[in-house]
């Protein structure tokens, strides 16, 4: 199985541990075998261990250690935010976040919606059953 996601300058990674959990960051330079210099529009450039990062499929085109403005421009040009939020991984994370932030009323509404959906599915299933038996 060849590798598809490489640590390289411009690779977008997701932080999976620590204070910046859940953030998308750009690998801007590699310090050594275990650490990368990492940057994001809303944070000061700093080092991160690869153990805290999960590589994504998205890669942007930047030089080694670009200025903040260049980085933000490159992120906009590559449309990283939309690509991420439309990818299945990104969508799953959004749904997880939404589920975690529900209040009781929301959960009630979801219950009603689920019952309605199940009702409609069952009706269709009953129709199909009748057709096959008839």
């Amino acid at each position: 199985m060849p590798f598809k996601r490489y640590v390289e300058i411009g690779r977008i990674a997701l932080v999976n541990y620590g204070k910046d959990y859940g953030k998308l960051v750009v690998i801007v330079d590699v310090i050594d075998q275990n650490r990368a210099l990492v940057d994001a529009p809303d944070m000061v450039r700093g080092q991160m261990n690869f153990k805290r990062l999960t590589l994504t499929d998205i890669k942007i085109d930047i030089n080694r250690v670009p200025k903040k403005k260049t980085l933000v421009a490159a992120l906009e040009a590559a449309d990283v935010k939309n690509k991420w939020e439309s990818s299945s991984w990104g969508r799953k994370l959004i749904v997880q976040k939404k589920r975690a932030s529900l209040n009781d009323f929301d959960r009630f509404k979801i219950m009603l919606a689920k019952i309605k959906k199940a009702g409609v599915v069952r009706q269709e299933l009953a129709k199909l059953k009748k057709e096959t038996t008839a």
């Binding site: 590798f3 640590v7 390289e8 990492v38 809303d42 000061v44 999960t54």
Partner: protein, 255 residues
């Protein structure tokens, strides 16, 4: 009369908080022995100045607080180092024969200021005829990294004591800060050579440009198109609270 005027002015203006500051200002300007009841005309200017000072202080603290908060926004990477870099300045005490002894400055690594001062005297004793008992410490400041967001190659020259004798060594490290590089050095010496930190003396450190690096392990990262896969990926629980001893299924270690 001036005195009554000032009294009225004071009664009108001060409150509990201001009184403490005012008494300090009073003590500073006029000496702590003078009673608060004795006013003189320069006090007008002091009070006015004090009011400005008070508002200035409060403004500066709020400004400092907001600046701190915004800059603290979000930092990636660790912020605490075990070894800090200090600049220590000291000299021998002046005597009749030597009115102006030479001042010596040293940059060294220690875990805290007290240790730094002690190390300073240790090294100075070995170089000059001066001890802590007949010397004085002039200044001790911590040195912080100027550009902690850029990667640098650090060369460290050190002298260490092994089980059989003293040796010199030159080691290279890639890091964002000098403190980080020095900490890497201490941990590496401990692991590779079993040398404890008190047996290590840092002779010199320098930021090495990429061309002059000697070690292959640092030179292999001098590649602007560096690219490598992460071969072994063990996914950790995002917080230590979610850690469990037993897992239901074997983990997937590929990417």
């Amino acid at each position: 009369m001036i005195i009554t005027d000032t009294v009225q002015f004071l009664k009108f203006t001060y409150d509990e908080h201001e009184r403490t500051i005012f008494s300090f200002v009073w003590a500073v300007c006029f000496g702590p022995d003078q009673e608060l009841g004795f006013f003189s005309w320069p006090l007008y200017s002091v009070i006015n100045h004090f009011h400005d000072l008070n508002s200035f202080l409060s403004a500066s603290t709020t400004a400092a607080a907001t600046v701190e908060d915004s800059s603290r926004g979000s930092h990636a990477g660790k912020m605490s180092y075990k070894f800090h870099q200090f600049q220590v300045v000291g000299r021998a005490l002046p005597t009749e024969s030597d009115e102006k002894p030479k001042i010596y400055r040293m940059k060294l690594w220690a875990t805290n200021e007290v240790r730094a001062k002690s190390k300073f005297w240790y090294f100075l004793r070995k170089l000059k005829k001066v001890k802590k008992s007949n010397g004085q410490m002039l200044a001790i400041n911590e040195i912080f990294e100027k550009n902690p967001t850029t990667i640098k190659n650090y060369g460290i020259w050190l002298r260490y004591q092994s089980r059989t004798g003293y040796h010199n060594m030159y080691k290279e490290y890639r890091d964002t800060t000098l403190n980080g590089g020095v900490e890497q050095m201490y941990t590496e010496m401990a692991s590779r050579h079993r040398v404890r930190h008190h047996c290590i003396q840092v002779i010199k450190t320098a930021t090495i440009p990429a061309k002059l690096c000697k070690r292959e392990s640092t030179k292999q990262f001098h590649n602007s198109k560096i690219k490598f896969p992460l071969v072994f990926k063990k996914v950790r629980p995002p917080t230590r609270k979610l850690k469990t001893t037993y897992k239901a299924s074997r983990p997937n270690l590929f990417v």
